[in-house]
């Protein structure tokens, strides 16, 4: 019982998943159930003149914007994302209506007979129309740039990334009463869905119930998007009073759901006479797609990550979200950080080269230390153990020897990235937006039930939360339960996003367990509720981006080694070495799983995964065309975890989910750069791009 919590146990959902017993939305059928399919805009921008529906057979229904009891938008942050297109369409695939009925064949037959009379308008695909802009400064950047000996400027670009979860989006729902709708779905955020549906139905919160089904992967793709289809489905259920299933097919899912924002970032450094960086100016452009959704939050997290794991005294940071007539972009593991960390890591590396300095020592000088000011003039309060982590990583990878050897050896390269990731919501978000609540319930057999809205989407939340309670209460794992949450039963502990589940929700669950322990009476039922209280020292001004952006940071180092073929320009990953500080691993195997998956996804973002659109139509729409790495593409990984407990995390735990992704792209890009001896300024660094660079003698 007193063993180290990091010691791994069998992942508690593994058996059910492996044996096919886990019930995904696709596995759930309800008697008398209807199906829904979606009518979508065939063009990127236009004015809807008329939608001509064929005569409908009995039992078949069309649901469109006219059926929405509440306002026609998906409740998130702004009132902009429509549930169903009304007067205009803003992107290819925008939902216009649901077609609902029993037989899918009939549904597609109706679908194919619908005539959409839409007057095309000129769509916008370039960064012209800013819909959000943020800016902030640190120190006093203007004079620093005026007095600089030299200003070095570079621009970096990143592409789309698709979450590529195994299970596509889907819900099944039914009318519980004439008023009440129940939805079972593949989601990350039960209460986001519930709140959006309450708004769409314009009803009392008691009339909407959301239950989590087994979730087959999410990666952020099931953060905000499910709210859209849940609203559509709830409206259909209210109208038909029948159970209905709405489940996407792979090609539909890839063509219309949110992606990682493509970006373009311009970095400028003010350099003094001694070749020191005295200030940085950064300007970020994110392609938001047709609707803002969460893009503003993604932008703010990108901007805050501007100096990554470094401390730079003077900063001027700004950024825009641009509207384009493409699929709305949204949440994706890393949430703005991967774009920014790619830019700053490459920039630091390129600065060193342009200043004729050794990149390793150059970057080391600027590494953030405990007590330094963060990019938003907050404080790095907790110990930072990056020097030790870097030392370990370089030893594991034999980094320095290889750097030396590859100066003369062609086609081989090795790259190293440093990075941090802010855990939990930005600033006071946890208290002002979320205000999480958790509940522990003990029954008269002394079995304890964790009642939280956190979702296990494969990342291990079920196992780690149960471990926390079991350890704290000193009762066997089997005596603690965490079932698929149901909003009729669990309080709003917040969304399963932002690397907050272990640290914030787990922290509250641990507090509840401690209280339960102090009140424990055998065979007596007991309920304990805990609410999030923001530490007093967190002061954050959302408007000016000043203060502590996050309660804590996780840290990491990635080293990637590659070989680039001069014949085919293909990149072969030879090795990946990582060191992480996630505070304390609540289960070592689970963190290592996050590490392997995260680096695979992050490294692949840097060199492999290609998604582009042509006139607003995504060209890669299935897993044949959208290339993600197979086991053969990944190299052996070696990962080391250092404990660096965070006082407010359960057993010292901080976030681990996103951290492992954000450093992969710059590490692989730097390795490729070393192999081909040309600077990389764009990801993914595909063979096609590498060929261009190798054949371009201007660099």
């Amino acid at each position: 019982m007193h063993k180290d919590i990091s010691q791994s146990i069998h992942k508690l959902d593994a058996h059910a998943r492996m044996q096919g017993k886990a019930q995904y939305v696709g596995d759930i059928d309800i008697k008398g159930m209807l199906h829904a399919i979606t009518l979508r805009s065939p063009i990127a921008k236009g004015i809807i003149k008329a939608i001509h529906y064929p005569p409908l057979p009995s039992g078949y229904t069309i649901i469109d914007y006219r059926d929405i009891p509440g306002k026609n938008f998906v409740k998130m942050i702004f009132e902009d994302w429509k549930i169903f297109a009304e007067d205009t369409v803003e992107h290819i695939g925008e939902p216009i209506a649901l077609i609902v009925g029993e037989d899918k064949r009939v549904l597609y037959d109706i679908h194919d007979k619908i005539i959409c009379d839409i007057q095309p308008l000129e769509p916008l695909f370039s960064y012209q129309k800013s819909v959000i802009d943020y800016q902030f400064t640190k120190g006093n950047p203007d004079p620093v740039f005026k007095q600089a000996k030299k200003i070095i400027k570079e621009t970096y670009e990143t592409g789309y990334q698709e979450q590529a979860y195994i299970e596509p989006q889907g819900f099944i729902g039914y009318p519980e009463t004439a008023e009440k709708v129940t939805l079972i779905g593949s989601v990350q955020c039960l209460y986001y869905v519930k709140n959006a549906v309450v708004s769409a139905l314009d009803t009392h919160p008691d009339n909407v119930r959301v239950i989590q089904a087994a979730v087959g992967g999410a990666f952020g793709g099931k953060e905000e998007y499910p709210s859209l289809i849940a609203c559509q489905l709830a409206i259909a259920i209210r109208k038909t009073q029948k159970p209905i299933k709405l489940i996407f097919e792979r090609e539909e899912d890839m063509s219309v759901t949110t992606k990682r924002h493509p970006s373009k970032t311009t970095m400028e450094a003010a350099i003094d006479a001694d070749n020191n960086i005295v200030g940085i100016r950064a300007k970020v452009a994110l392609d938001g797609g047709a609707y803002i959704g969460l893009s503003g939050v993604v932008l703010s997290r990108a901007l805050i990550a501007v100096t990554n794991a470094y401390t730079i005294k003077h900063l001027a940071v700004s950024g825009d979200v641009f509207k384009t007539n493409t699929v709305p972009n949204g949440a994706f593991r890393g949430f703005g950080a991967p774009q920014m960390i790619f830019a700053i890591e490459m920039f630091m590396h390129h600065l060193a080269k342009q200043l004729n300095q050794d990149p390793y020592s150059f970057r080391m000088q600027y590494l953030a230390k405990q007590g330094d000011q963060t990019s938003t003039s907050g404080l790095f309060r907790d110990p930072i153990i990056m020097p030790k982590m870097i030392q370990k990583a370089t030893e594991m990878a034999q980094f320095h020897d290889k750097v030396k050897a590859y100066k003369t050896m062609p086609n081989r390269g090795i790259g190293m990235s440093y990075f941090l990731h802010g855990c939990g919501f930005t600033g006071s978000g946890e208290s002002t937006h979320i205000n999480a609540q958790v509940k522990l319930r003990k029954d008269d057999h002394d079995h304890v039930y964790i009642l939280v809205a956190a979702v296990d989407m494969g990342q291990g939340a079920k196992t780690t939360l149960i471990k926390i309670v079991s350890h704290t209460l000193e009762i066997p794992i089997e005596q603690v339960h965490f079932d698929y949450p149901d909003t009729d039963d669990v309080p709003d502990s917040g969304p399963t996003v932002a690397s907050r589940t272990a640290m914030i929700v787990g922290g509250l669950v641990n507090q509840a367990a401690l209280e339960m322990k102090s009140l424990w009476q055998s065979k007596t039922p007991l309920e304990v509720i805990k609410r999030y209280k923001q530490p007093e020292w967190i002061v954050w001004d959302e408007k000016t981006f000043q203060g502590d952006a996050y309660p804590a940071y996780s840290w990491g180092v990635n080293i990637v080694e590659v070989e680039v073929s001069p014949i085919t320009y293909q990149v072969n990953i030879i090795g990946i070495w990582s060191v992480y500080d996630v505070g304390k691993a609540l289960d070592e195997t689970i963190v290592l799983g996050q590490a392997d998956g995260g680096t695979a996804q992050g490294v692949a973002y840097g060199y492999l995964e290609v998604m582009v659109h042509e006139q607003g139509q995504l060209k890669q729409k299935n897993m044949t065309d959208y290339i993600i790495p197979t086991a053969v593409d990944m190299a052996p990984t070696q990962t080391h975890l250092y404990d660096n407990p965070f006082a407010l995390g359960p057993y010292g735990a901080k976030g681990a989910g996103e951290l492992t992704l954000v450093g992969g792209a710059p590490a692989v890009a730097m390795a490729i750069e070393m192999a081909i001896k040309k600077p990389i300024k764009k990801i993914p660094a595909t063979p096609e791009y590498i060929m261009e660079l190798m054949h371009d003698d201007d660099h």
Binding site: E249, I567, T568, D625, P687
Partner: protein
């Protein structure tokens, strides 16, 4: 209604075909995707369907003095582990799809699908492979390169089945293969290249090269190969640019969701050079 026929013998299959056209399904790994429908709905077949994977007569590998004979429905995975199958073909198969797919996918399916990116076609073109097309009353043997007439097009008649693939025995000193896909496994080729060569007393007595995914069908040009046959190994390196120039007009790739034409063309030309350099290197080994 679509009728589904699972014949028990080849004769039954051919007889049925002589009366009606059928959509043939071998392993189904191309056909089932081509005719795929929305989830839960049956495939969108446009004709009656005949499943021939189980026909005993179409399974197996044998050889005679002149050739290796592969019955058309032998799964790729079987070929992969069979001693009679040329090592180059096994190498190619090992990079096709994934193991699960290879247990059902067939060589005949790859041929009749006639994709410009069909991997197995590339080595088969090198060997002047022939195919046997059988109908109820007749049987004809034609060159594979004549059987495939364009992208997704063959000269196989509706009443015919491809029953055998005949690979002439081929004497080689070595071979070379590169599949350039979007990743290292389970990817459709952006371009592929196979070559074989024969050296006698420092003279190149035969060389063959074939390119996949660079044109409407596999590119193989005996006339260009002849340009360097008979040369001394020591003279080969001076011929690389000439070879590249000769092949260039035949390498007419496209832009698509997997790659672009500039890349495909450049890599094809690089592969020619790499192949020749490979030969020179191998020949200089003690």
């Amino acid at each position: 209604m679509v009728k589904h026929l699972i014949p028990n013998t080849l004769n039954e299959a051919l007889e049925a075909l002589s009366k009606h056209p059928y959509q043939i399904i071998g392993g189904g790994t191309d056909a089932m995707i081509q005719y795929r429908n929305h989830s839960d709905l049956s495939p969108r077949f446009k004709a009656h369907v005949m499943y021939i994977m189980n026909l005993k007569a179409l399974q197996g590998i044998s050889s005679n003095d002149a050739a290796i004979i592969i019955q058309s429905m032998t799964p790729l995975e079987t070929l992969n582990s069979h001693a009679l199958v040329p090592p180059l073909l096994r190498k190619v198969i090992l990079e096709m799809a994934s193991p699960a797919l290879r247990y059902v996918a067939t060589l005949a399916g790859n041929i009749v699908n006639a994709s410009p990116a069909g991997d197995a076609l590339v080595p088969l073109y090198l060997w002047d492979t022939e195919v046997v097309l059988q109908s109820h009353q007749n049987s004809r043997k034609i060159r594979l390169s004549e059987c495939i007439t364009g992208p997704k097009k063959t000269g196989i008649r509706a009443d015919e089945l491809l029953t055998q693939i005949i690979i002439p025995k081929h004497d080689e000193s070595g071979h070379y293969y590169q599949k350039v896909g979007g990743r290292r496994a389970d990817a459709i080729a952006k371009i592929s290249f196979a070559g074989t060569y024969k050296i006698n007393n420092n003279t190149l007595t035969d060389i063959r090269m074939a390119f996949g995914a660079v044109s409407a069908t596999i590119v193989r040009q005996r006339d260009i190969e002849n340009m360097i046959i008979g040369l001394n190994i020591n003279d080969l390196s001076t011929k690389i640019e000439q070879l590249q120039a000769a092949y260039a007009p035949y390498i007419q790739p496209i832009d698509d969701q997997r790659s672009n034409r500039v890349y495909r063309k450049q890599v094809a030309l690089n592969l020619i050079a790499d192949f020749i350099n490979h030969i020179i290197k191998e020949a200089s080994r003690p």
